[in-house]
């Protein structure tokens, strides 16, 4: 690589410091000796477990529904595709509180589908299911973009060859296309899980903050930040560690996309 100009290095150092300082701030407030005890407190443990369970469930929804949506989007052309993509990916940039409001007016008791869901005995708002829905809503676009982009990079030749060898559509999808975009699906799942784990605004708005039911780790941190800052910091550090692990897993160097 060519030698970089000094002013650029200086700006890069400032940017790096900006990224690292908040983590250092968290670490500086941690009571490392009591960290295990704080994490073992019922409130923290319950919140963390709920977070992991709901994020896993939301990621499952993203795989089951987001992958087909990515395929469908990739099959479209022109303006339809551009418009549909813009609408479907909006949750990526929507303020989470707006997403929460939307979910409330769609699936809440007085929402579009509220009565139907109630009648079916499936009230959603302010339940754990609402947490999962909120997370899936904001995380789905990661899977959709990931799948759509990796499909756009394929020329369909292997699929065509598979057809000449007698394979039907479902077999081609399962045995040729999906393995070919496996890395992209994995990446989408990792990012969706990370986004779900960090979900706060939509969850609070749509699901509320009920201990053991809808109070995920981010909500617990927010709640404890004044009453018990040490516990908030401890839980925060766990999320930091998870985030770094996830990013490292997703961007492992030398991992090549199989095509």
């Amino acid at each position: 690589m060519a030698r970089l100009p000094r002013w650029l290095i200086l700006l890069a150092v400032i940017a790096a410091a900006f990224a690292v300082l908040p983590l250092a701030g968290l670490a500086s407030r941690a009571n490392w000796a009591e960290l295990p005890d704080q994490l073992a407190s019922p409130a923290s443990r319950t919140a963390l477990e709920l977070s992991l369970r709901t994020a896993a469930a939301a990621t499952g929804l993203c795989v089951v529904f987001g992958v087909p949506l990515g395929f469908a989007l990739a099959a479209l052309r022109g303006v339809t595709r551009a418009v549909l993509r813009a609408v479907l990916l909006a949750p990526l940039v929507l303020p989470p509180v707006v997403s929460g409001l939307g979910l409330l007016y769609a699936f809440g008791r007085k929402g579009l589908l509220g009565e139907t869901l109630d009648a079916a005995g499936l009230p959603v708002a302010f339940t754990t299911a609402a947490v999962v829905l909120a997370q899936a809503f904001v995380a789905m676009p990661f899977m959709v973009v990931s799948v759509e982009a990796s499909l756009a990079a394929r020329d369909g030749r292997l699929e065509a060859i598979a057809a000449t060898l007698g394979a039907g559509r479902s077999r081609i999808l399962a045995a040729v296309t999906l393995p070919g975009i496996g890395v992209a699906v994995g990446m989408g799942a990792v990012l969706a899980f990370a986004r779900s784990l960090g979900e706060f605004g939509a969850t609070l708005t749509f699901a509320g903050s009920l201990e053991g039911v809808t109070r995920t780790a981010p909500l617990q941190i927010y709640l404890a930040r004044e009453s018990d800052p040490q516990a908030a910091v401890a839980l925060g550090l766990v999320l930091v560690a998870l985030a770094i692990l996830i990013v490292a897993a997703a961007a492992r160097p030398g991992r090549r996309v199989v095509q």
Partner: protein
Amino acid sequence: MKLDATVAVSARGVNATLSVPAGETLALLGPNGSGKSTVIEVLAGLVQPDDGRATLGNTALFAHEDGRMRLTEARRRGVALVTQDASLFPHLSVLDNVGFPARARGVTKARSRIVAHEWLERAGVGDLAERKPSSLSGGQARKVAVARALSSEPKLILLDEPFASLDVDAAVALRALLREVLVGRTAVLSTHDGLDAIDLASSVAVLDRGAVVEQGPTAATFERPRTAFTAAMAGLVWISGVWTSHALTLADGQSVYASGRGLAAGARAAVAIDPRTVKLVSGDTRSAVHDVVKTLEPRGDGTLRVRGSLLWADVSIAEAARALPHVDDPVSFAIASRPLAYAV
């Protein structure tokens, strides 16, 4: 099974008609860009034709009828394709690539692997079974692709430029394999090399700018090409004219002496000559053909191609050194042995 096809793809300027007798191999011969791959891909079902029809045995591959194109899905055609890049599935082992068609027929994985092993052994690459496609050489990958195509038990096998970009040893090995496995199979093999046709195909269809300009048994087609294009693909000088008792009279009135048993005076006829038997001679030689030099092309094999507007000669460097003509100079060609003229 017999193949009869007319393939038209107007966007690519292709409108080609060809037929392959059951159990025989047809070489689809033409230079790059002549439409070989398009014809192959249409037959395989990868590219949609906009006109024409094709039948393989009793099945229609596609047919343009009442203004509508009826297509049989690629997977129901029984037509296997070996592409230039082998198109192996990168995430599957060599064994599972070859077992793929059996799996698609609903055979269990274990059983498909037994079948795949047999085909790999027949292709002489049984030792590659556990390898991933990315670790294969070009020649190995193409042999595996041939094994995979055969394992689909196709009624027609298509080979798109099977020797393209292979080194000499790999090409020799693949050629030996194809010579063996194509026996008794209906096959179409595209190539830009006449030698592939002689070696592997009983008949040849010559493709020029999307159209088949000539089709016939390989040997006869190359010995007596009916177009300058086919002659050029066969590496022959081709001269056509009108037969007059013992010579071919060219458009400019010159004569090329030839034997033409059975030819009627006034019939359109042609001779096809090995350019190495054409010599440069001095201008007053009787029976010489007088021409003007258009290009001088070094051949790389120690000969120089002196190309005139009517015919050309491949002369040795020594001969060229004795009397090197220049572009636009007059030149006289003599044909060493009296060629055979035939009706065209």
